[in-house]
Symmetry: C2
Subunit: 186 residues, 2 copies
DNA sequence: ATTACTATACCAACTAGACGGTTTAGTAAT
DNA sequence: ATTACTAAACCGTCTAGTTGGTATAGTAAT
């Protein structure tokens, strides 16, 4: 499970966000409602609205936490790939592939926002743009970087929508292939 | 615009599906309603329900047309790559990258179904599985095939959600890179 | 130690509007 | 007569958001 940042004391705010992600994954973004969320968490609608003043605020928080988790994971990989000439490149890719890995599902925030209010995705564009710049900066073959970046996100989408049956099992093999392609070409 | 299969005489059924795609792209899947669809097409709610007996039927039709369009485009590319040792591989990838290219947006059907009723995606899993098998069959490096397949769909997702600003312009360069990678490695 | 107050974290009941879908009655072309 | 609709009323349900209230914990003056 997620929501363990302060180790042991997951605030209800995070509990709600976790439940929201799971709801989107299992029922679809359109059924992410305060009622359903209340049932899933045992918190009343009033309580939910205490934490997130509107549905847009909830979606915003989902996106924010998604980005934060991604950044955290990238830093973890940065130390794991210490010394590797493609440290940054690899860290960005694996972070995107594996964020929320320990959680139920992937990219629920993205899909929920896209479904309910695409305007909320605008701040994400900046984040993506920045990632693209990093990839171009740290890769000798920027187009390859783009291909691999999109590959990671395509795989995540298909996993989230359960469009391919055995995606989960192949995840490690998939990651290894990405790393091998970087080492071979970069 | 789309919906021109019988060249010149787009049935209202296709007009409705086009409008539905555009609505999902611009307003989000949650705002794909019969009322909004009626306003967009100028067809009354009764008229819409004459064509699609329920919302689920509408979503099903969106997915079906998406697959059909993809298959058509694949056949077009098959003749374009006649003689190429990677004919099938390339055709599958470019078809997925370019279906709906002349339309407003991509993969609206997928997102709409995912948002409203993920159960409707079940038949898509079969289609994906089949595509995977073809890719594995026609590629000497199945893992590369997977990477490139996911790259195509990742790029489509980001385009649809307008998550990267200049995706459209780079589409041809992106496609060329994919083809080059196939030729180099396969 | 008591009283008064504040902040946090909720809950239960309600409201107004939107939504999917139905129904009815009718039009117009083939 | 069939196909392809329009127009408009209507229904039950769901939904976001509001209101007003409660419980608990802590602060701080008296």
């Amino acid at each position: 499970m997620c929501a363990k940042k302060c180790a042991g004391r997951p605030s209800n705010r995070d509990v709600i966000l976790d439940a929201a992600e799971q709801l989107v994954a299992s029922e679809g973004a359109a059924r992410l409602t305060f009622d359903a969320l209340g049932q899933a968490t045992g918190i009343s609608k009033g309580g939910l609205l205490y934490h997130f003043a509107s549905k847009d605020k909830l979606l915003e928080a989902m996106l924010e936490r998604m980005v934060a988790r991604n950044n955290d994971l990238k830093e973890t990989f940065m130390s794991e790939f210490e010394g590797d000439p493609n440290q940054e490149f690899k860290s960005i890719l694996l972070a995107s592939l594996n964020s929320d890995a320990e959680c139920a599902q992937l990219s629920s925030g993205l899909l929920a926002a896209a479904a309910n209010n695409p305007d909320l995705l605008a701040p994400m564009t900046a984040h993506v743009q920045q990632t693209f710049q990093s990839l171009e900066q740290f890769s000798r073959d920027p187009m390859l970087a783009k291909v691999l970046f999109f590959a990671v996100h395509g795989a995540r989408l298909f996993e989230q929508l359960q469009l391919c049956e055995h995606c989960q099992g192949d995840r490690k093999a998939f990651a290894d292939k990405l790393l091998a392609m970087i080492d071979a070409k970069n």
